[in-house]
């Protein structure tokens, strides 16, 4: 009774809903909440990229940067410093494309809960492909830089450890994607519980929860995702500094 009075008639809405249904090669596919939110995120990122590109092209090289260009340079320098610190000066900057775009996508996706969207990263179908891409890059770099040492490392310390080593390699994408998914989905559930069950008295104080669950957890998980990718790749490259 109490809950019904407080909720104001709103319902829980953390489910992924299908909006449009279509057939493709005999499969029934849905246009879900995730697709729409991802499309909005893509529009935001593309608009930001176009504005940033214009600002950089218009910037005067002879003068010190100011305003928006300054912020952009700060972002790029922070990214480059992080890559060099984590992966070494020799290999670090080669990965700035992938790491930078991954971080931008994850950050905007995680923060999109603030816009009232359902964060696309709260769908396992988004995080698992991202983790798989990272995992294939990790394995590719391992084979590229270690050659046969990569195959040999599966049999260390003795050959009996082969199944355990294979499982530990295969569990990397699962744990990376589940970490991101679990954090964002738990935040989504918490916020929908607050708004669904306490809809009438959820006036200003949920913003504190938004600050923790969306901003802090979202930014931290985006950072952790790219940090783990960098650490794994530099482990596979296997050279100091």
């Amino acid at each position: 009774m109490m809950v019904a009075q407080l909720s104001g008639g709103a319902d829980l809405d953390f489910y992924i809903e299908g909006y449009a249904k279509f057939e493709l090669f005999g499969q029934t596919l849905y246009m879900t909440t995730t697709h729409i939110c991802l499309a909005i995120v893509f529009v935001i990122i593309t608009a930001f990229a176009i504005i940033a590109n214009r600002a950089i092209k218009k910037a005067d090289v002879s003068k010190a940067p100011s305003g928006f260009v300054n912020v952009l340079e700060l972002l790029v320098e922070t990214l480059d410093n992080m890559l060099v610190n984590t992966m070494g000066a020799k290999h670090g900057l080669k990965f700035s494309n992938y790491i930078g775009s991954l971080f931008t996508l994850l950050l905007v996706c995680n923060l999109s809960g603030l816009l009232g969207l359902r964060p696309p990263t709260a769908d396992f179908g988004v995080t698992f492909p991202l983790a798989l891409i990272s995992w294939f890059m990790i394995q590719y770099n391992g084979i590229k830089y270690q050659k046969w040492g990569k195959a040999k490392s599966l049999f260390e310390p003795i050959f009996l450890f082969f199944p355990i080593n294979v499982i530990s390699e295969l569990s990397t994408p699962v744990s990376m994607s589940l970490r991101l998914f679990g954090n964002m989905f738990s935040g989504t559930i918490m916020m929908s519980l607050i708004y669904g069950l306490l809809g009438k008295i959820a006036i200003i104080w949920p913003s504190a929860l938004h600050a923790y669950l969306d901003v802090f957890a979202g930014a931290l998980q985006a950072y952790v995702f790219i940090m783990l990718t960098m650490v794994f790749v530099s482990n596979q490259i296997g050279e100091e500094t």
Binding site: S175, L178, R179, G182, L220, V224
Partner: protein, 86 residues
Amino acid sequence: MNGISSEAFVLGCSAIGAGLAVIAGIGPGIGQGNAAGQAAAAVGRNPGAKGSIMTTMLLGQAVAETTGLYGFTVALLLMFLKPLMP
């Protein structure tokens, strides 16, 4: 047991199982608290290294959280996907 349909029984047991699964949250709680305490001690010894201690602590905590999230995922599966329903 009369009057309880098998669906209701499985649903109730799934809810109990989901509750048991999130007990896995104890481990990450202890681990993260331990990491934060050690980080506080490290900052006390060497205040200059606060930035790198913070990032290391947050990364370690996020990795330590994984087992808790496995429990959380199992609870979600039991609650919403209901894989045990006949």
